[in-house]
Amino acid sequence: MKFLCIDCDAQMAFEERRQPGDGTFAASFRCPRCGRAVAMLANPMETQLVGALGVQIGGRELDQAPFEQVRRTMEGRDDAFVEPPAEARAGRPRWSPAAQARLERVPRFVRGMVMKIYGEYAGERGIEEITPEIMDRARVDLGLEGM
């Protein structure tokens, strides 16, 4: 999908995406010539139709995690997966107590994958500690609805 500023006949540049957790998707674009901004607002069905393909609307920022679509879309059992041991995470960003508490609220079926995604997001940006604020920022940047 592309956005065209008709007045300027210029392709608008992507600025930001949001998935507020209600099943909808939003993305903003700005014209590089006149500065006019527009937002594309997709309803839950439109969002789901694309999301069901296992793709990231607005582009993929991180490599696909194993069973990413399975874990994001299926209702699975809590003990389905055994995640890599803690020592395998050595050198990864640490989690603040508040961030850990928030992570605890994520269903265990997807928790390991969520932890990996946030860890990679923070690691790639040189962030040493993951906090709820970092998680919020990552959600916006990565389009992680409901995580």
Binding site: K2, L4, L49, G54, P66, T73, M74, R77, A80
Partner: protein
């Protein structure tokens, strides 16, 4: 008002959805590059014992190729292969992929049965409204990840146990263009013949090689005297094989002893490419 349309605007597409989908397909291809044969086990009809046969095939193959056989349970909504092969979770998540469960005879197994709570149906987190619209896409995504995100390693044979119906094999072929072929399971009845013929036609029309027909419940085996007595009327296995020009590779009498079926299915390995 005049304005340019999609292909008239030279700039890139931010989402790159087509490229993302292509990357998904490439991931499956890369993963299966160490697998010598990918074979679908299909039947147009439910209740013919397809998964039971698939489990027997896997065990027979594992005796031919120790530590070289895997099974994808593509019957996502009614998974049984993991239980038939005594494969249990949890599944280890490694950086490069999910490690499959190990079943009888060291067969590697992946199945929704390992992921779902006992007694719970396959359900999705997504909005329930209009779910029928995207259910098929979600299921295709799960199958794609079962193929592409599992550390299958080097295998001589990866069996894909498809759900009953005629369209699953074409979906699988879209994900695995190099699909080695399909083995077809029927029972002797005319009803099964008619239904399975549709699935075979769908496979043939999709350009999938039909490797052979296995007739299950082909009589009843008496555990006391060893005699095989008729269980169903009909000769569907032979008729389907003749109609499609493929061999009838096995006829399995109804016998709760799985080892007998495993032994009877050993010869199927001889017809595999």
């Amino acid at each position: 008002m005049t304005f340019r349309t999609y292909f008239q605007v030279d700039g890139g597409d931010r989402s790159g959805l087509a490229a993302q989908v292509a990357a998904q397909r490439a991931r499956v291809t890369d993963r299966l590059s160490s697998v010598r044969r990918v074979i679908a086990v299909l039947s147009g009809k439910g209740g013919v014992g397809k998964s039971w046969v698939a489990a027997g095939l896997a065990r027979a193959a594992a005796r031919r190729w120790p530590d070289g056989v895997g099974v994808v349970d593509a019957d996502l909504r009614s998974p049984t292969v993991a239980r038939l092969l005594d494969a249990v979770g949890p599944l280890a998540v490694a950086p490069a992929g999910v490690v499959p469960a190990r079943g009888t005879d060291a067969v590697r197994v992946i199945s929704t049965d390992l992921l779902l709570d006992a007694g719970r149906p396959l359900t999705w987190r997504e909005p329930a409204a209009e779910r029928f619209v995207w259910r098929g896409t979600l299921e295709a995504g799960v199958l794609r990840e079962f193929l592409g995100d599992v550390e299958w390693g080097a295998l001589e044979l990866l069996l894909v146990d498809l759900p009953p119906g005629a369209d699953g094999v074409a979906d699988l072929h879209a994900l695995v263009p190099d699909l080695t072929g399909a083995l077809v399971v029927t029972i002797p009845t005319e009803e099964s013949e008619r239904s399975v013929a549709r699935a075979m036609r769908a496979a043939a029309d999709a350009g999938i090689g039909l490797l052979g027909v296995i007739e299950n419940m082909s009589g009843r085996h008496c555990g006391a005297c060893g005699a095989i007595t008729p269980l169903f009327d009909g000769d569907a296995g032979a008729r389907l094989a003749a109609a499609f020009g493929v061999p009838l590779v096995a006829r399995l009498p109804f016998d709760p002893a799985a080892d007998a079926a495993v032994a009877a299915l050993a010869t199927v390995m001889d017809v595999l490419p």
